[in-house]
Each structure stands twice: as C-alpha cells, then as structure tokens.
Amino acid sequence: MSMKTSDEDFQHRLTKELENTFMRGAVSSAQERFQTRRLKQAEELGHWEEWRSHGEEIRKHVLANLDYYLYQLSENVSKRGGHVYFAQTAKEATDYIQRIAKKKNATKIVKSKSMVTEEINLNAALQQLGCEVIETDLGEYILQVDDHEPPSHIVVPALHKNKEQIRDVFKEKQGYEKTEKPEELALYVREKLRNEYLTADIGITGCNFAIAESGSITLVTNEGNADLVTALPKTQITVMGMERIVPTFEEMEVLVGLLTRSAVGQKLTSYITTLTGIRDEGDTDGPEEFHLVIVDNGRSDILGSEFQPILQCIRCAACVNVCPVYRHIGGHTYGSIYSGPVGIILSPLLGGYDDFKELPYASTLCGACTDACPVKIPLHQLILRHRQVIVENEGKAPISEKLLMKAFGLGASSPTLYKMATKMASPAMYPFTKDHKISNGPGPLKAWTEARDFPAPNKDRFRDWFKHHEKGGEE
C-alpha cells in the first residue's frame, strides 16, 4: 500500500462510502467514545492548555533544529551498535531494507503498526523478494488477511468493519470456525501469531518518538505486539519519518502523555517501550542487529514552507475523531492512508495535489480539529491554505464545496433527514426548554447556551409552515 489507497475518483469513493451504513454508525459511535475519553483525561490531568502549549513548543523547537537532533540521534544509535540509513526517497528506503532482507536470507518478517512503512509501500517491496510479511497489530492483521484492505483510521485501522465481517474474513481465508465474539477472534489471532514471532527472521517497526540524547526509539502500543516483534527476531529494522524525534526522555514523556490521552483517552497505553541499539552483551533476547531507516520522502520540502506546522503531528488522530466530515464519509473516502484533517493536509504534500486536490474541500473549516490538536497545529487554517494554493494554481476549485456539503449530509440539505431531525429535535430538547428558548442545552449546544439562549426548534416547523402557507392555508 502506498499513500494512495484507491484508483477511483473522489466522488465515486464518496458515493460508495455514504451508502455504507455500518461504517457510518461505527464511525460516529467511535468518535463519541474517543471524544468523551479524551476530554475526561484532559480534565483529570488539569491545565490542559498549558500541556498543549508545552507540546507545541517542544515540537516547534525540534523542527527548527531538526538537522541537529537527527545528527545527535544517528551518532548515539551508532554508538550502541545500530546502523543508521538516511533515505531521501521511498525507493531509497525500500531498496535498503530489501538489501538487508536479502543479506539475512529472510523468508518471514513480522511487523508492528507503522504508517510510514505503508507510505513507502514497504510490504510490497518485501513480498517482491518472496518474503512473507505479517502485520501483528490486530486491526492491521485483519485488513491484511482481507486482501490488504486499506486502513480507515490512523489508530484503529479496521474501524469500518464489524465483528461478523471479521469472523467471515477469517472463516473464508483461514478456515476459522469460532464465533464473532471479539475475545474469541483476538485469541485466535494470538495463537496464530505467537508462532510467527518465534520463527520470523526480521522484525520491522515504526517509531512513535526517537530520542536524540540516547539514540533510543519509543514504541507505543496496547497489544504488546511491538515488544514481541523487537524481542524475538535476530534482526530489527525501524523505519521513522524524519520529524518523529525529541531531544531527551523528558520531552518524550510529555509527548507520549499527550499522545495516549489524545489518541485513546488513556493516561498511558499498556506498553511503552524505549529500545536503544542492539541487545546488550550477555542479553539473550532483543536484536543482534539493528537498522534505523530515517525517511524524508517529501518532508524536507514542507520544512521552511507555510505548511511546516503539520510536521509537529504526533499521529494521535484526535483531529480525525472530532471531524464532522470524517464522521459522515469515513476513512476510505480520503483515498489516502492518512485520513481526516491531518490526512487532508499531509496527503497532497507527500503525495501531490494531482491525486488529492479534492481533499481540502472535505472540510467545513469549523476548527474542531485545531481545538483538539494536542500540539496546537492550526489544522483548519492549513486546510484553507491548501484551497488557496489549489485555486491559485488551477484558477478554480476542483469540486463544488456546496455540492460536497450536501453530499456529506451537513446542513439542511436532505429533506428526509431534516424533517426527521427537526421533528425529533423538539421533543428531544424539551427537557432543556424554557419559554421556547434552550438555556441549558446538551452536547454541542452546551458551550453556546452557557453564554446565550438558543431558539428552540418550533413545533410548527418551518417546512410545515411553508407547505401550509404556500398552499394559501388550504390544507
């Protein structure tokens, strides 16, 4: 899989995804759960704005001095016996990793979840050599078994699938005979993958944060798969986007806390592991050989440009989880491994405007993403800037925003939905209504009604009123 996940054009993808009712239900309930958990953790931690500012200053400082920190990182990796390869392009990275696989006569490779390896299409390059490549993150494993279906969410790749579909995939492809219960499905994968870890020649990981002062890499998971991928095979290859680095353990700690809270609403995930170089003398697990591949692949062109803040991203997907457009269209519509607001900004920068020029229009510019971002990336402003660049280059927008909003089902565009919503709104708002005004509204109305009253949906709805009056009150 490369950046681009579909050959269909944007409108076809959109039409298809809007019909996927399970996906749409799953996405909206997931968004709600993610948001509730994230907000609860932020509140419990306290001083959240200050934490965000600290996250932002760390990321900005690192980007402004990126050459220094990468220099320091590579020196320290080398001191601990690791090899560092700087790859300007995706091809340089995959060529290098292919060379290692050949040298090791590798036939089986286990991987933990990594967006950058998807971006450089690493699995295909390794399969070309005849290697079996096994994804070990539960969600990614499911997608891989299902004929390499693309991920629809940065953190929960198989979010669009229900358990019955997953059961059927395992049944059809591997003869799975048990039920759709998540525990049984997970246990099945546990048993299946345990032997793979033990017999793999190479383990490949991504990198949440490299630590310059020690040459360490930090891996964040709940499943513990990255630990098995790095503890058992004799050779470890870690692939990192060049911006995924912090000065010291102290900044790593701050960003990991922001990441786990923002991504999954946990104080910390079950496994946070820092790995430094090869195994120590006398160690009997951990890699005997370690390669760190640092990938540019278009990132340096973002540096120094007005889009530089997107490189602050720590891949938590909080922006995805609050986006009203993602909620309606799901991850696959973006046609990129990176979906949601971060995907809108990153995909055209790393994959070119040609394939992704509609994406900046898949946004209401409401700014919810910007408010949710733990490292304060001005996401909606960067989306708007993309639109300006596209119009400057092409003379016109590639797609009608108004039509898109209509397709997303946002606003009062769908008569049936609108009718239902306003009919329901009246009774649903009743408990909050006083003198035809909502003064203590739930959910998104809360912030609004704290400062002012929101007019209650009229029992005599406008469309009914209009119908009534259009016919001269003859009904």
Partner: protein, 238 residues
C-alpha cells in the same frame, strides 16, 4: 562495535538549507516556557502515591495487593495458585532472595509440582522456550508510576525482556520505595543517567497492566499478544 551511518551529510544539509541555517552539530539545551508536569501529584507522600496507584489499577484491569517482606511469600503463593500454578519463569535477580522468597521458590514450588525456571544468560534458546511455555512470569519494578499504574522494567543479561511478555500471567513486584508520582520522574532519572555518561538498558519497558486491544468494534479485549492477566504486589517495607 559502532554501527554505520549512511547518506547523512547530504540528507542533513538539505534540511538545514530548508531551515535557512548552516548544519548544526552543537546546540544548547532549551529552557521551556511551560512546565505543567511538576504540578501533577505535587507534594504527595509515598502513602498517598500508593493509594493513587491502587485506585488507578481498577482502570487498567490489574489486580493489586499490598504486603510486607514478612508476608510476601504467602501473598505471592496465593497469586501463583490463583493463576493455576504449573510453571513460573523469573529473572535471575538477588532481590527475590532478599525479599525472603528463596524457600517458596526452591522448596515449596517443587513440592507443589510448580516448575521454576530462572533466566540463564548462558542458555539463549532455552530462555525463550521456557518463557514461551511458562504460565506465569515474575519481574520487579525499578520505578513505579502512581498516576498511570505503570511498572518500569530495565532489561539486562539476567533480566530478559521475554519474562514479562510471553507468559499468560504477569506478576510484578513493586517495592514501595520505587513509587513516584508519574512518568516525569522516571524520564528525569533516565535522562540524568545519560547526561552522566552511563549506559541505559537496551530495553526499558513502561508496562501498564495486561496486553489489550479495542481494534474490533472498539470493544475492549484483554490479552492479545502479551499477558492476559496482571497482578502488582506492593512491598510496603522495601
């Protein structure tokens, strides 16, 4: 032996050029404008931190119990029995003896037909084989983070990584003296070691409860690749 570094100069000079400066190989440590981390659990006593830890364990699917050296052996035996006994793997670590566990491990367990394997740096393959088939792995936390309920483990030749990953059940002993407010203190401790020129462990694990996943319909499942169950035993006089 030092590893190789390839293609660095060109790669870094491109970055420096985009940033508009000459490539840097020196930089003074920045002072940050914000430092919110010191406010968390500020001034909490060790006893209060123990309570924070105990409370946090209910959110991370982890059993926790408090005991002291005199009663540790009995407490550990109960947890091991509860997990079905059978086979235990431990690090090679003198602390087990100093915590008064020798007679439990070397006399009681063999009598009860519970097999004990101690990590042995001279037997690389046997270590993994034993860790893979052991029912229970026992390790010791070096630093314990109250806020998140996290045990920090440092690998070494006698403290294999696999002891905490491969067995189905994980028991982590937590000397009370190791408890700190949060990850901030652990990170500072490790950073200071690095600044003093000390070599840090090749694998540092921050472990917070058992392995889990919500990848299927966001429904939490406990025990995916690593342990399915976890128990912390706080040793209050250590």
């Amino acid at each position: 032996m030092a590893g190789s570094i390839q293609n660095r100069d060109l790669f870094l000079s491109k970055i420096a050029q985009k940033l508009g400066h000459a490539p840097k190989t020196e930089l003074t440590r920045p002072t940050w404008q914000y430092q919110p981390q010191d406010r968390v659990l500020k001034g909490a006593t060790k006893d209060e931190l123990v309570e924070v830890l105990v409370n946090q364990c209910q959110y991370i699917d982890t059993e926790i119990l408090k005991t002291n050296t005199a009663n540790l052996s009995d407490a550990l035996q109960k947890v091991v029995e509860n997990y079905g006994g059978h086979s235990v793997i431990t690090w090679k670590d003198e602390r087990f003896q100093s915590y008064g566990l020798s007679s439990l491990m070397t006399e009681q367990w063999p009598q009860a037909n519970i097999q004990l394997y101690e990590w042995d740096s001279a037997q690389p393959e046997e270590n993994i084989r034993q860790a893979e088939k052991a029912n229970i792995g026992i390790t010791i936390s070096e630093i314990t983070l109250a806020e998140s309920g996290t045990a920090v483990l440092f690998s070494s030749k006698d403290k294999g990584r696999s002891v905490s990953f491969l067995p189905e059940n994980s028991i982590i002993l937590i000397p009370k003296s190791t408890i700190v407010p949060r990850m901030t203190q652990a990170a500072r401790f490790i950073s200071e070691k690095i600044r003093n020129g000390e070599q840090i462990a090749s694998c540092i694990n921050f472990i917070t409860g058992p392995s889990n996943s919500a990848d299927i319909e966001m429904i939490p499942v406990i025990g995916v690749h690593g342990p399915i169950k976890a128990t912390y035993i706080v040793i209050e006089d250590r």
